[in-house]
């Protein structure tokens, strides 16, 4: 009952309407780094959203927004300073404009991920399980959806974009603007032709992640199983 108590005087009232914003501080960053940055940036990169300012960016954006469904294979290489060999993982992905992303890791271990408007889910023996804490981030999903729908406001605000090359062979560099992002990574390089082919993320600590999308095709519709995965 006390939480709804009409505040009293100068000392008591405030007991009731305290602000704990301070308590957010470091934890906010942690949460954000753990759950938000990765999928957001990652998905931003898979579908370059409408970049309305320059003609060529707009063109690229249109070009990438065309296909409804993209199927492909990926190779992810995590280059860690301390390791002579990168940590390499492989698998396939399905990106569906109106549904979301399926990320199916095959080696060295098998694990399926799904990002939809509802949040990030991981598949275990009992089916898709929403990742705790990540399903609650309404803002993160909103942003993700905006990105899928070609809304550039988030990306343009947070990154400096520079595009080079032509429609068949282009290179887009994203440099973070915000102080917070600058503390995490230096740059993101994306290359591609008709579709995205590589994404490279350079972290400030010296590590980097290289994602190669191979055999991407936009000719294949969603299979029944995939539709089922998105629907579940």
């Amino acid at each position: 009952m006390m939480f709804s108590l009409p505040p009293v005087g100068a000392g008591l009232p405030a007991m009731v309407v305290n602000d704990n914003a301070g308590r957010l501080k470091p934890r906010g960053v942690l949460r954000f780094l753990a759950s938000k940055l990765a999928p957001t940036v990652f998905c931003v990169l898979l579908v370059i959203p409408g970049l309305a300012q320059a003609f060529d960016l707009q063109q690229l954006s249109d070009q990438l927004a065309k296909p409804d469904v993209i199927h492909g294979r990926f190779v992810q290489e995590k280059h860690l300073r301390a390791l002579p060999q990168p940590l390499t993982s492989k698998g396939t992905f399905v990106l569906a404009k109106n549904h979301g992303l399926l990320w199916l890791l095959k080696t060295p271990l098998q694990q399926d991920y799904r990002i939809t408007a509802k949040g990030i889910a991981r598949r275990d023996a009992n089916g898709w399980q929403m990742l705790p804490g990540k399903s609650a981030g309404a803002e993160q999903n909103r942003l993700f959806l905006a990105v899928l729908q070609g809304d550039s406001s988030g990306l343009q605000r947070d990154f400096e974009l520079s595009l080079s090359g032509d429609a068949q062979n282009w290179n887009l560099a994203l440099t973070p603007r915000s102080l917070l992002l600058k503390q995490v990574f230096n740059r993101i390089n994306i290359t591609g032709g008709e579709l995205v082919s590589t994404i490279e993320l350079l972290e400030t600590q010296g590590d980097s992640t290289l994602l190669r999308m191979q055999d991407s095709t936009s000719s294949q519709p969603l299979s029944d199983a995939e539709q089922h995965d998105f629907a579940e």
Binding site: F3, V8, V17, F42, L80, R81, P108
Partner: protein, 779 residues
């Protein structure tokens, strides 16, 4: 006609007045010694020093910080507005710190996470590491490849086992505020708007007299500015309540004080038709001065509530001069000194009985009432002295020719009374009255709550609740105080408490809590983690298979083994510890102590049960305790009332004899009973404050009974004197009833009712023949 003593008295009094004035000047040398801290006025529930310190620690930010949400349908605009306001506020000089972005010190965070790998691991992760090391390693391998949990603050090569990532993910998170990565602002989405969080910490606290008003003014200005850009501001802070309280007190003081003054002056002019009679207001001013000086001298300052309630003293203080001024209806010609001589015994009795009544208030455990009692008693003494020593000199030679109509009114009233008595005799009337009382008392409800002390405006309360809803933060005033012999025991006790609180959280009875054991685990647990780590090489094959070099793992293990057991003090140094820092009370006389703060509680009774059989754990619930004290005080107030009556009877036995004294005291008591019954009939609750009001009425209305009994100058003149006295008193107390602070208005209402009944009953005081004869022959 003037005695020698009456020549020196005014001079002596002027010397005293000058001395008091000088003292007042010295007291006010650094500005008004006023206080608006409500906590000073509520009874201390005698907490021990540690509890008091804990309470102050919890309250400190509340009285210095302001939380503002800047809302706009467009997130960018909301952020821009927050930035603009943030800069303006910072420049205003009112705030020590204004913050709307998150400045995360990532290197410091990394260091803390690495340092706390043993100490900060959550219970679940600890359990997995100890009981299922194979699953622990398997999960680590997964996260290494998981593109969606890829960003850990600490790079993998510094933490191959992924302990920091687990700590990162297990940090408790409540509320729905999110980080906006671009701007670094904290944003919550609700009601179709984005709300950006802005925090400001003031240079002083809510009890500085000027600061709250300045902050409130700045906020008002900012609101208007935001409204021009279609942005909305929501604010919550103890400062805003303080500002509102101050403004309200000033407003009410003006209304009550001003209204009473104007009313009384008008009444004086209408009745006596001489400008000089306005000098009767001198005792009032002197009374206020004496009251204020005594209050500051005794308490170091005066509370604004004392001033509001004290301003009702005007009506009582003016009664002294009225006593002898009203004799001008019967004494012709009227001379000031003889009139005073005639009424002096009555005046003195009246001062004594009123002071007894007021000082009875001082024995209640309420510092507020003690202050008011001291203010009033000193004020009455000042008013009495000036009425007795100074005023007659000022009025010397005044030719009073009072209007006839007031006398006719009182004669008419007495006629009506006679007519009434012819229809129904006194015993019959008494029976009727008692029936009325019984009927009313049966309907009387008692109600006591600290909330009555403040008229918190709905808007402030609503905003605070909206902020709580939007951000998901609902801090509660209750907290747990945990004591122990040492840190290990303290954390053990907190863990025991946490287990119970977790159950409440799972049952949705509690939203969350903050406890030191969430930040740092017990030393014994840290040692368990270290032992479990030493067994890990048997299980880490999967990590080697994906390419993690065995050397790196071995080095890391050695580093982990070498990490010292972290104690609370060292755990509190890092940036992650910020919210926890205030909870740590440190070493005490008999060990250590810490608090556990709570969020979103909906049943305080449940909390008390949690602490019952946990040693060293105690729930601190100040509001609950206060309400209990209120209820208990109600009973002691009733006892005080009876005690004060006995005292008054003793004082009155001398001039009136036992029978007369009993009769004089019985009337106010009956009046008080009638007022209680009226409250019942009116459907008004009986509060502690109405009871205090009645306590006061008893003292004041004894006066009327004395006046009526003495009958100096005949029944009609005496009734007229009573009427004037009652009217002036009612003018000041009755106006309190319009106060928006429930406590004050309750007080005003019960005093008003009490006065009305006292006046009605006063003619039954009988007639003290010999006193009147002696007095008149002396004149």
């Amino acid at each position: 006609m003037t005695l020698p003593s009456e020549r020196t008295l005014p001079r002596l009094f002027l010397i005293l007045l000058l001395a008091v004035l000088a003292l007042a000047g010295w007291q006010w040398r650094d500005g008004a010694p006023l206080s608006a801290n409500l906590m000073e006025l509520v009874p201390g529930t005698a907490p021990d020093a540690l509890e008091l310190r804990a309470e102050q620690r919890m309250q400190e930010p509340l009285n210095r910080e302001m939380l503002v949400l800047v809302g706009h349908t467009d997130r960018q605009q909301a952020v821009a507005m927050a930035q603009k306001l943030g800069e303006q506020w910072q420049a205003s000089g009112l705030f020590e710190k204004v913050q709307w972005t998150l400045q995360a010190d990532l290197p410091a965070l990394r260091t803390q996470l690495l340092q706390g790998r043993l100490a900060m691991l959550s219970a679940t992760d600890r359990q997995q590491l100890i009981e299922h090391p194979d699953a622990f390693i398997q999960q680590r391998v997964q996260t290494l490849f998981d593109p969606f949990t890829g960003f850990s603050l600490v790079p993998s090569q510094d933490d191959w086992l992924g302990l920091t990532g687990r700590i990162q993910n297990s940090q408790p998170q409540h509320g729905s505020v999110q980080l906006d990565i671009g701007s670094g602002a904290l944003v919550a989405d609700a009601d179709g708007k984005s709300w950006v969080l802005l925090r400001a910490r003031t240079t002083g606290n809510a009890f500085d007299m000027n600061l709250p008003l300045q902050v409130a003014a700045l906020l008002k200005h900012s609101r208007e500015e935001a409204a021009q850009s279609d942005a909305q501001l929501l604010a919550a802070s103890g400062l805003l309540y303080a500002a509102n309280g101050q403004q309200q007190a000033t407003r009410e003081m003006t209304w009550v004080g001003g209204g009473a003054t104007v009313g009384i002056l008008l009444l004086l002019l209408l009745a006596f038709r001489r400008w000089r009679v306005l000098l009767a207001f001198v005792p009032v001013l002197v009374g206020m001065l004496f009251g204020a000086v005594a209050c500051v001298a005794l308490f170091g300052h005066m509370h604004v509530l004392t001033l509001v309630l004290g301003s009702s003293l005007i009506g009582v203080a003016v009664d002294y001069p009225l006593h002898y001024l009203s004799k001008s209806w019967s004494l012709k010609p009227w001379h000031s000194w003889p009139a005073l001589r005639l009424t002096l015994p009555g005046l003195t009795l009246s001062l004594i009985t009123s002071c007894i009544g007021y000082l009875a208030l001082a024995w209640t455990p309420f510092p507020a009432l003690t202050q008011i009692a001291v203010f009033s008693a000193a004020g009455l003494l000042g008013a009495y002295l000036s009425a007795v020593c100074l005023l007659p000199a000022l009025l010397k030679g005044a030719d009073l020719r009072p209007a006839r109509w007031p006398l006719r009114v009182s004669e008419y009233l007495l006629d009506r009374r006679e007519a009434l008595l012819r229809i129904a005799s006194t015993p019959v009337l008494l029976a009727l009255l008692i029936a009325f009382c019984v009927g009313g008392l049966l309907q009387l409800d008692s109600k006591n709550d600290i909330r009555q002390w403040v008229g918190a405006p709905q808007q402030l309360t609503d905003e605070a609740q909206t902020i709580a809803r939007i951000t998901g933060y609902q801090p509660t005033s209750q907290f747990f105080l945990v004591r122990a012999a040492n840190q290990q025991q303290l954390l053990e006790r907190q863990t025991a408490l946490s287990e119970r609180l977790d159950q409440l959280v799972n049952l949705d009875k509690l939203q969350g809590y903050l406890s030191l054991n969430q930040l740092v685990s017990q030393p014994s647990e840290q040692r368990h983690v270290r032992e479990a780590l030493s067994k890990l090489p048997a299980f880490w094959q999967p990590l080697l298979e994906v390419g993690v070099p065995v050397e790196a793992l071995k080095t890391e293990l050695a580093t982990l083994q070498a990490l010292p057991v972290e104690d609370i003090d060292s755990a509190l140094t890092g940036p992650l510890a910020e919210p926890y820092r205030a909870l740590w009370l440190g070493p005490t006389e008999d060990g250590v102590a810490a608090m556990v703060s709570l969020q979103g509680l909906n049943n305080p009774a449940l909390l008390r049960v949690q602490a019952l059989d946990l040693p060293g754990v105690e729930l601190v619930d100040r509001l609950g305790e206060l309400n209990n004290v209120f209820a208990k005080t109600q009973i002691s107030a009733a006892e005080l009332k009876l005690a004060s009556c006995v005292l008054i009877v003793l004082v009155l036995i001398l001039p009136f004899g036992l029978g007369g004294a009993l009769r004089i005291v019985a009337l106010p008591l009956l009046a008080a009973l009638c007022s209680l019954a009226s409250l019942g009939w009116l459907g008004q609750p009986l509060t502690l404050f109405s009871l205090f009001g009645l306590l006061l009425v008893t003292a004041i209305s004894v006066d009327y009974a004395i006046l009526m009994r003495e009958q100096v100058g005949g029944a009609a003149v005496s009734l007229l004197g009573t009427l004037l006295a009652a009217l002036t008193t009612w003018l000041s107390f009755g106006l309190l009833a319009v106060s928006s602070t429930p406590a004050v208005s309750n007080f005003g209402l019960s005093v008003s009712l009490g006065l009305a009944f006292s006046f009605l009953l006063a003619p039954w005081a009988g007639r003290q023949v010999h006193v009147a004869t002696v007095a008149e022959s002396a004149a």
